[in-house]
Symmetry: C2
Subunit: 98 residues, 2 copies
DNA sequence: CTGATAATTATCAATAATGCTAATTAGCAA
DNA sequence: TTGCTAATTAGCATTATTGATAATTATCAG
């Protein structure tokens, strides 16, 4: 399930979008302005983020407003935390000390 | 810089490797056994993780032992935390209340 | 309806990722 | 050295991602 999330974050432009949206909602055009890429290119990156549920889109009159979906980011954080957590599955090789 | 990290985590097999290594160091062969994929395929996934610095490889006699590199995972966590953190850049649209 | 602006979808070429089999390197034991 | 096991690299086909331009949809003003 977090598969698409990590994949979506695996592109610098898309992480920059997340960073811009962190400061507040932005329209498609406002986002597109920040990049050298053509608008349709940015739109497609936005779709990747939307498919991963990392952002939401809402039409507001003539423009479309994007927002971050915080809970999904938190899920990804949990997933990463699991990768560094101690196990206790009685299967360890190390951590004899501590 | 965390670019390769997220990209590396964007594949289920590679995340499973991280999960297996969480329980302790494993050899290439032990890891390969856990998957349906052919050994060379697993090796390549391991190389992707190694290039992203998410794991380390150390030859031990005839076998090669892999371990997680915890600090890089922690960096990725920081990166994600930045995506949900409040900004205070005097640029907000929302959070008028609270 | 017409025109203008906002944004998306369609299509295509180039590049990257994935997974396989075959060939190769590395260490160790006899 | 020879032979054996562990693991990687090489090469190739298939599929996915990326990015651009062109065409399309959507909303609103008049």
């Amino acid at each position: 399930m977090p598969n698409e999330v990590f994949k979506a974050l695996g592109h610098p432009l898309r992480r920059q979008v997340m960073d811009l949206l962190r400061k507040g909602p932005r329209s498609s055009g406002e986002l597109a302005e920040h990049f050298d890429a053509a608008w349709p290119t940015v739109t497609r990156h936005l779709n990747v983020l939307k498919d991963a549920d990392l952002i939401t889109a809402e039409r507001q009159g003539t423009s479309i407003i994007y927002r971050t979906n915080t809970s999904v980011i938190e899920d990804a954080i949990s997933s990463l935390m699991g990768m560094v957590a101690h196990d206790n599955g009685d299967d360890e090789q190390k951590e004899a000390a501590e």
